[in-house]
Symmetry: C2
Subunit: 359 residues, 2 copies
C-alpha cells in the first residue's frame, strides 16, 4: 500500500522527486494530449513543478496555441490527424486528457506506436485488461506491465481513498456515497458558467456567455444527478462510482449506492459516505489508520473538510469520522479533494511515477 | 392522512380557505411572537394571504417596529416583559417563532393564560406530552387536545413527507438522510451573510457586515455538520433529524442515520435519501402513492427537484425516485422544500388550521 511518493526517504529527496518523479522519469518525452482543458493544464503544471524538462513536455490540443504552466510558457501543437503524423510525434508516455470518444481512437493507435498511455477518460476504465489505478490503493494492478492504464473518475477517487483504508482494517459490507461536485468537474466551461451566473446573481453585467454544460442554473442551486440519467433513474456518474469503486477496491460484489449532485463550488468534490463494515471496528484505531495512510489527511475541524479550503491541495481530506447510528458496524465520514489534482492530473502523474521509466 | 387543505372542495372554497384557514379560524386573535425573523415574517405573510383580519394579527418582537406582509403593513409591538403585560396581550392562539430559550419561558406562561401555543423552536419537540405534528403525516397527534404543539425541524419535514408515504406502502427498515441546507435556515443573518460573501466573491464592495452565523465562508463552499457537533461527532441538526423523524412517523425504533451540510443556496433545503424498506415494493405503485399524497409533488425532471426553483412554493418536491443498488428493498430519492414555508411557517399554519378554533 506504499507508493513511490510515500516511500521517499528525505525532505532533500522530496525537492528533487515530488510525487515520486525522478530523473529517470524526466528523461522520458511525455505528451499531454488535450493540454488546454482544465485537467490537461493541471498536468502540464504538475510536470513543470516536478522539474520535467520543458523540451520533453509535448502539449497537444485541437489547435495550436500557448499555455502558461507554473510560470513556464508551453507551446501547444495541433494534434496530428494522420497515423504518420502521430508516428512522428510519438513519445515514451502520453497522458490523454481527452473526451472518451477521442481516447477510444487515440489510445490504441498510440499503444501500437509503442507509447505507454495513461487515459483520463472513462473509455477504458471498465475493460478487464486495463488497470484502473489509484497508486495508494492498488499499485499491484500495474505489475502486469499494461501499456494502457486508466485513471478513475474523480468522485470515485475521493470516496475510495478513505474507503480503501477502512476495507483493510475492518472490511466493507455496504457503502452509500452522496456527492457534492464542483463546477469545474465540467471543465473550464463549467467553472466559467458558475462564475458568470454568480456575477449575474450579484447584479453585475455579464457579456457574451458560452452555453452552460449544466441542465439548470448552478449558482445558488443544487442540481441532483451528475451526467445523463438512464431509464433506471441512475445517472452516468452514479454508475461510474459504483462500478469503478468495485474495481479499484478489488471487490466485484461490493454493495455500493450513490446519489451525485452538482453544487455551486468552483473546485473540489465532496462526498458524504455512510458505511457498514464487515467486522466490528475500533474508531480510534480506524482514525489512526486514516491518519497514517499516504495521500489521506484527517481533519479535526468539526465542520470540515470544506471544498473551498482544499482547492489546489494534494491530499484527500477526511473529517467528521464517526460511529453511525445504524448499528455497531455503521460508520460515517465526509471527504473532500481537489478533483482536478487527486481526482485527475495528480493521480495520473502518480501512476506514471509508479511505472518504471522507459527509454 | 388527508388534511383540511387537501379536503378542500373547490377552487371557490380554496380562495376563501387557503391552507384550510376558514372564517372560524379568522375569528380568533392570533399572536406571532418573533415576527421580525425570517419565519415570523413568513407567518404574518401567510396569515395576510389567508385573509386573516389585520386587527386580529398581533405581531410581537423584541422591539417596536413595522413589517410588510403580503402588501399589508403590520405594526410590531414589543413583547410584554411581565406576566400582567402578557395577560393583557393574550390571544386565543400564539405562534412562537422564537429561539428555544425564549420559547421555554413563554410557552408555559402563555398556556397558563389560556392561549393555545404552536412553538416553532426545538424546545418542546421531544417532550412526550407535546405533539410534534406534520398535518399530512400525523394529524391524529392533535386529537388529545394538547394546548402546546411543536412544529418540527425543517430538514426533518422535507424527508418525512415522502418517507411517511413509503412507510405506509411498504414500511421503512432503515433511512439514511444527507441534507443540503440553505443559508436562510440560519435566518436573515444567514441569508445576508451568503449574499454579502457572494458579492465579495464577485469583486463587489461589501460595506459593514454583520457576524456570520456559519463557521466558515459559505459562498462557493459546502460546510458539513449543521449546528454544533457533539463528542460523538454528531451535529445538533443530525440528532434532530433522527429523533424527530422517529416521533413524527410513530416509529420510536426506526433506524435513521444523517449527515447534514450547509450549501450556498438562499432558500430551500434539499435531502438525498437512501432507504431500505421493510417489505418488497413496486416502484410504479410507490410513485403513484407519492403523486397522490397531499403536500407532495413528484417531479419527472431527471435533474430535479432543485432548491432555487422551489423557493416560495408550498409542496415538498420529490424526484429521482429509483430502485437502489443495495438489494430489492433499497430505494433512493431526492426531496426539496422551502424550509421557511413547509419547514416552518406554513406547517405551523396548517397545524393551527387542523385545530378547532376557539372563541
Amino acid at each position: 500500500m506504499r507508493t513511490n511518493e510515500s516511500a521517499r526517504g528525505s525532505a532533500q529527496a522530496e525537492v528533487h522527486a515530488p510525487w515520486g518523479w525522478t530523473d529517470a522519469h524526466r528523461a522520458q518525452h511525455v505528451s499531454v494530449i488535450g493540454a488546454t482543458g482544465a485537467v490537461g493544464r493541471e498536468l502540464c503544471t504538475l510536470l513543470v513543478q516536478a522539474k520535467h524538462p520543458l523540451e520533453r513536455i509535448h502539449a497537444l490540443a485541437r489547435a495550436e496555441c500557448a499555455i502558461e504552466a507554473a510560470g513556464a510558457r508551453l507551446s501547444v501543437r495541433a494534434l496530428p490527424q494522420t497515423r504518420d503524423g502521430l508516428h512522428a510525434a510519438r513519445t515514451q508516455l502520453a497522458f490523454l486528457c481527452t473526451p472518451s470518444e477521442i481516447s477510444l481512437e487515440l489510445a490504441p493507435a498510440l499503444c501500437e506506436l509503442g507509447t505507454r498511455v495513461i487515459d483520463l477518460s472513462s473509455a477504458f476504465r471498465m475493460r478487464a485488461d486495463v488497470p484502473l489505478v489509484v497508486p495508494e490503493i492498488n499499485p499491484q494492478a500495474l505489475a502486469g506491465g499494461a501499456r494502457l492504464i486508466a485513471n478513475p473518475n474523480c468522485t470515485t477517487v475521493m470516496a475510495a481513498m478513505p474507503l480503501a483504508v477502512i476495507e483493510r482494517i475492518c472490511g466493507l459490507e455496504e457503502v452509500v456515497v452522496v456527492s457534492f461536485q464542483a463546477a469545474s468537474g465540467a471543465g473550464v466551461p463549467g467553472l466559467e458558467t458558475l462564475q458568470a451566473e454568480a456575477r449575474e446573481a450579484s447584479g453585475l453585467p455579464v457579456g457574451q456567455r458560452r452555453a452552460s454544460p449544466f441542465p439548470a442554473q448552478l449558482a445558488l442551486n443544487v442540481i441532483p444527478g451528475v451526467a445523463a440519467v438512464d431509464e433506471l433513474g441512475i445517472s452516468g456518474e452514479e454508475h461510474k462510482v459504483i462500478a469503478e469503486m468495485r474495481k479499484i477496491l478489488g471487490r466485484p460484489g461490493l454493495v455500493v449506492e450513490a446519489t451525485t449532485t452538482r453544487v455551486p463550488v468552483e473546485r473540489c468534490h465532496s462526498v458524504a459516505v455512510h458505511v457498514k463494515t464487515a467486522r466490528d471496528y475500533s474508531l480510534p484505531e480506524l482514525i489512526a489508520a486514516l491518519r497514517a495512510a499516504p495521500g489521506v489527511e484527517v481533519t479535526d475541524d468539526p465542520h470540515g473538510p470544506r471544498p473551498r479550503e482544499c482547492a489546489g491541495l494534494d491530499p484527500v481530506f477526511v473529517g467528521r469520522i464517526r460511529a453511525g447510528t445504524r448499528g455497531a458496524r455503521s460508520l460515517c465520514f465526509f471527504a473532500v479533494g481537489d478533483q482536478i489534482r487527486k481526482g485527475a492530473a495528480l493521480n495520473a502523474l502518480q501512476i506514471a511515477a509508479a511505472l518504471t521509466p522507459e527509454s
